[in-house]
Structure formats: structure tokens, C-alpha cells
Symmetry: C2
Subunit: 156 residues, 2 copies
Amino acid sequence: MPKPDTNKTPPQQIDDSTLRQFVGYGMKRAFNVLHGELVETLKPFDLRMVTYSALVMIVENPGLRQYQLADALEIERPNLVAIIDELESRALVVRERIPTDRRSYALLPTAAGKQLCDKALRADAASEARILATLDEKTKATLIEALAAIRSFRKT
Amino acid sequence: MPKPDTNKTPPQQIDDSTLRQFVGYGMKRAFNVLHGELVETLKPFDLRMVTYSALVMIVENPGLRQYQLADALEIERPNLVAIIDELESRALVVRERIPTDRRSYALLPTAAGKQLCDKALRADAASEARILATLDEKTKATLIEALAAIRSFRKT
DNA sequence: TATTGTTATACTCTATAACTATA
DNA sequence: TATAGTTATAGAGTATAACAATA
């Protein structure tokens, strides 16, 4: 009984049906698409995903501390330093010393920061609407809920 | 009219409701959870997400070429070299020369590779089942479909 | 002692240009 | 000329240890 010559004739159609059963696989592939589109969307504003989300959080929560922002976005504090440096050097946010606790900074958006944040948010919303155009509202809502449920999973 | 002293009293509860409206934000956070769990799940097998998915694809598509695998997993060809090197050095897969096209290799799983793949797949399935335990079957199916739809989005 | 921000560092993942051998 | 695999390299993103200033 001859063994199949799988090494002579390459598979014409590659099958990923085993991996496709996993949410993690679909999530990685889908996230790659969303992230790639976001990079393009944010390019005109010279923002990356992480500087963008930090800016939005500072606009939405003026006065929050760096450790609070790091905690909220699950970014390690050391990695946040360069991010805030970048936003501050572009005069989009300011670090303001707290008299009552001189260890920490209050993060505040500037007028320019608020403006850029608003523009970026609108561009992001338009981009996502295009990507998700084939999904109906109910599916989209289920998707967002499911993502939130997974996000809140913690090991027992 | 005094301006609010947001810099004196830090926000007690940080609000991310603006970002939470975006699928991309929820996806990043959810993917971080799934990826973190997968790292733990694959640690006993000494596999990473990318070596794991490559191994599964080779087991499922014996004889496929490296360029086909790179294409299927959307990995850049240069980055796949070290991945296959790693799997081959552990005798989980082999690169077999093709007489009819000596430029390319047929990737084939070894018996050990097939065994490890099977064990890893079962551990991954068990792990995902735990993470997604709060989602009913219908929601899970909708989630997988939505992820596939996003994955297949391409710019016009 | 503990906390906040910081520095330094290292490791993974990913992207691109250019080479080689084959076609 | 084009393709498959490779090398070298650089840029993001992320994680940890240790320090200074402050509480």
C-alpha cells in the first residue's frame, strides 16, 4: 500500500477549520484587521493605538493620576512614561504637580488635546462603521457584550 | 466662577465608556485575556501561540509549502523561518525537499508532532471552555461568525 | 515601609530590504 | 525575470528589577 505523496503535490486549498473553531484564533485574526485599520485611521493625527486610547482617557477623566491610567488601560507603569512624554511634548496633555501628594501627577488635556481627541474619535467611529458594515446592530451589540465578558474573565 | 479642582481630587472611578463603544478596544482587551491564558495553557508543551498554530496547520495540511503556511496564517515569510526551525529542531515537523521544485519544502508532521498537537489542542479547548463558560452556545456561535466577518474585511 | 514616577533593560512580535538557489 | 526560502535588521509592544522622591 503506497503512502500518499503529499510531499509531491502541494495541497491546493489550505484548511484551517480546526483553528477556526477557537475564539482565540478568530480573535487574533480579527484584531489584526481592526488594528491595521486603526493604524491607518490614526496616521493623519500622528497617534498610535496606545497614545490614542491614553488621550481619550485623559480627556474623559481629567485630573486622573498616571497610576490610575496605567491601571485602567492595563499598561505597565514604566511603559506609560514614554506615552505621556509623547503626548506632553506635543502639548496635547500636561502633567500637573499635586500639592497634597507630590509623588503623583494630575493628567489634564489641553484645548489642542481635546480637539485632536474629538477628531480622532470621529475618524475611528467612521472606520469601524465601514469595517462592521456587514454586521447588523444586534450582532454588533452581542459582539461588544461578549468581548466585555471575556475581558472580565479572571483565573480562579 | 471657580474652575473645578479636578487636579486636587483624583477621579475615584475611572470611566472608559467612550472607548468601550469601540469594538477595537473591546477586542484588544479580550484578546489580551485569551492570549494570556493561551500562553499558560501552552507552557507545558513549550509552545507559543505562533508555533502552536503553525504545528496545527502542518498536521492538518501535511505537505504544504512554507509560503502556503505563511499565507494561511498571514505571517511574513522571513518570520516563519525561525518558527519552522524551532519545530524542526524539536523533531515535531520535518522539511522535505521537493524533487519537482527544489526551491520549496514540503512541511510534514512527525508522529511526535501529531501527538503534541493533539494534546495541545485538547488543552486549548478546555481552557477556552472555561473562559467562555458564561457565554451560551448561540452567543459563542455569533461571536465566531462576527470575528470571521471582520477577519475577511479588506479595504476597497 | 509603601507608593509614584522613572530609568534601564530585555524579550517577543512584526515588517522590510536584500541575498541565494532554483525555476 | 519571478519565486521560495533565507539573512539581517529595525521597529513596535510588553514585562521586570531597581532607583529617587515622597508619603
